[in-house]
Symmetry: D2
Subunit: 289 residues, 4 copies
């Protein structure tokens, strides 16, 4: 089945946008039509930095979270306070956008560029996250797989389950939509409990529907699910289908809002900082109602 | 005149939102109404990082820009490429949001909190940029002070000039709007040419109009303008009026788009990464039409 | 008594060496004469870095120690492994040399230079640690205040106690010597137990003897000792006498060696990396027998 | 000839000291005997950091040198000035010690440990530079290949040339000695001029003589020398013979001193900071006379 799971070459052999190409003017306008009052829900986790500097001025132990900061000496009595910030983008504690250059298989990144051409010690030349710097705006659809609760540990998310959730929401998922999948898990705080995960079967569903962006609090199971392809979301959806992933979103407030409004669609907005040449960027995706 | 330029205490003595309080539901809805097709213009500069690591693997000299990156060794032949990113937020090369805690005067930040209470070596406790983490969405208005060109060096921007530009655009600037002011300058590449700047008189205008957010490629003149208060935008608009500033936006494509569409208003969206406890955050503000 | 505790101006008003000026040729030769077999004891703690990067590739929590490292991607299958290292020099977990520019009082550093002249956001221009980059070599004397054990918590170290230890060792402390004082404490792992500390009385003794460098596992008490000047070692010895301090040495192996050899003097060698413009540098002081 | 150039297994299959094992008590005492007056010459380049932070507080362009620093905000009027330091150790601008784990060939480091066992994203477990943390002290011998001048560009350094220089100096190079080779070049400032380099033939000489440490301003030629093995010093001396290298020493003052004193031997002292788990460390090697 996964043989057909492949967008390499679909938009040319130097393409950098991948499935975001599916966001046509029509898809974008469909998204804009969802924003009526401008009421907004942030889909980002709050990341609390820990100190870049240790020592007498900082705690002796700290969670090694995604961001470190250090306040700069700007002079005695200077009016401006400023800091330097160190970001480990691909960390479960910070909601981030995985660029297509984040994933290599057999030494190649989408749609077939050798890693030596795409990346070097100091940055990414092909498939960097900032190719989406103009903003990703489209319709978003929330599929809540565990309304009011959470999926069982090590639960395998299947296509049938996505269909069922779409049915409950009364939504027809369309090509160019952003898909938000809530399982009720926070990977960053799950500890040693086996995480639920997306199966290759579900990735096939993403492909059939024409999903442009995936943002789920369910990602790749850890440890891998018995009998399932390990890392299917990153290997297949990101690596082969070139669907950019939003890793580590927080969908709790969104689910409550959708439930309250009785609406499971909204405008989905991603405005990543325009920092060039990276494999990923911290983002604050918004759902606008 | 500047005596009345003060929002300290207006929303309580522990407030952290400042002029963003002016974005009422009505103002937000007015902004949402501007987004019709979802067509988007990014207002961020593109920031090209330079290598965090030097040596044989990197160039010997480089512009010391706002971001440095370094690609991480993830193991021989590992599929995931990743990096660490070091960000100097308050740098003219990266479009960023100044939080209210960025500015202290007489050892106090808005609305009167002592710096020792608001900031420490490792972060900000009051007035951090991520208080806007839910997203700032409102109507945006572009005032182009130099259509098709740029302001003269050391030009002082006045209230009368803002009025004139609003008149040309046929726009009534309203309380809760985001104001985007284009002078046609890129501070990051201006070199030694004296920059134009915002006068105290213009800041007074922002106050009268009830501007919620300011994003201008004209900021504080450097060197200070003869006969004008130095640093008026940061000292008065940010420091006293608590209007968060978007520093270093790129408004060129926006101006072209507004001109082409004959529209000078749009939905303005700021979705800063939700990184807690900093004086500023890199952002990619969007104008949605 | 502390009125006379002052070397400001003693070696001119632009001097950067402070008490290291006391290491005359004679003192240096006296040190060299102590090195007979070249047998060496390191006086540095071992600092174990924690990861600069967090996330899937690193532990979720860690002690925020003095050094962080991150291994660099040098290409697939590249032969050279390399890293970047982030160092918080003034951290109790790393043995380091305090430069004279580390300490300011009333906005001035030794011997009276204003901080605005001596330091900026990016480095030190007067009193940087690398003024000792040619190496500090002289005779070292170990005074063990608690042979085989450790001082009581919150113990105040006095001049009389230093005299007594010198008497036990049968050593005449001379001008230009490096003084190593062992109290048997590791500040980095002491937790909340009140640390013993050096009194102003003991600093006076350092001045009388003409100590050129101080390296003690007893430093400034934390919390301050009742009835004693807080921070006397940093404020008086470093700040007024310009005696560079070696903070956080490990003197355990040295004490055992001295006891075994029945010798309390040796050649003392400090070879700080020649990195210019910092307030301190990590060092590995050696005792050579 | 290079078949026999191999110390893998010579000191066991888990050894981490390599050729430093050749520094016997006798060799160390021979070194100590060289130190008579304690007069010292530093063999380190001076490294001038550039700012970690850019922006209004720092220059817009800078050489991307080996070290970056940023001064920390320690509070308004706080007496202690401090900074964070970012070090790219394997950079030609900073004199540093290459640990044995720096070099992998065929996925293995000395004496045969797989890279996956020796290194991870966050550090080195086998062959780290701090195994030499107790200090390296032995006799040093300077061979000046270009007295008063410098070698021609792209000059290949051979065994015969080393013999000739030893003859001129009247020195018998002995097992356990540190070898210092001066060619009169500073790799960090050589620009595009082809560098002279060490040949496999010369590495063979190091092996025969029993050199324990190599510190040369001549290293591996760049570009590789025609007809010679590229990277012979790193591949053979470091990789196969496990001779730790001091990269980027400055031997100019040493050569002048040796010439003046008519002595080409001295005590050689390396006291690297005891930071665990890195592939290299900045050092300030000393020659003590």
């Amino acid at each position: 089945m996964t043989d057909s799971l492949d967008n390499w070459g679909r938009w040319g052999d130097r393409d950098q946008l991948g499935a975001v190409n599916l966001i046509t003017d029509e898809a974008r306008t469909r998204g804009a039509a969802e924003a009526r009052t401008g009421q907004t829900v942030s889909l980002a986790r709050i990341t609390t930095p820990f100190p870049l500097t240790g020592g007498p001025l900082a705690p002796a132990t700290a969670p090694t979270t995604a961001v470190q900061t250090m306040m700069l000496f700007t002079g005695f009595g200077a009016p401006a306070m400023a800091e330097v910030m160190v970001v480990t983008t691909h960390h479960p504690e910070v909601t981030h956008l995985d660029g297509l250059g984040h994933w290599a298989e057999g030494g190649r990144v989408y749609p077939g560029v050798g890693v030596a051409d795409s990346s070097g010690p100091t940055g990414v030349r092909h498939g960097a996250a900032d190719v989406f710097g103009g903003g990703i705006l489209t319709r978003g659809v929330l599929l809540d797989l565990a309304p009011g609760g959470r999926l069982a540990p090590a639960h395998p998310v299947t296509a049938a389950e996505l269909d069922a959730a779409a049915g409950r929401a009364g939504v027809d998922v369309l090509s160019g939509d952003a898909l938000l999948v809530r399982g009720g898990w926070d990977r960053a705080t799950a500890g040693d409990v086996p995480l639920p995960g997306v199966t290759a079967d579900a990735v096939h569903w993403l492909h059939e529907k024409g999903i442009a962006v995936y943002a789920g609090d369910v990602g790749d199971a850890m440890p891998p699910l018995p009998g399932e392809m390990p890392g299917a979301l990153h290997r297949l959806a990101l690596g082969r289908l070139a669907i950019p992933l939003i890793d580590g979103p927080n969908l709790e407030e969104l689910a409550v809002t959708c439930e309250r409004l009785g609406r499971w669609t909204f405008q989905f907005v991603v405005a990543a900082p325009r920092i060039a040449g990276t494999t990923g960027l911290p983002v604050n995706p918004l759902a606008v109602f």
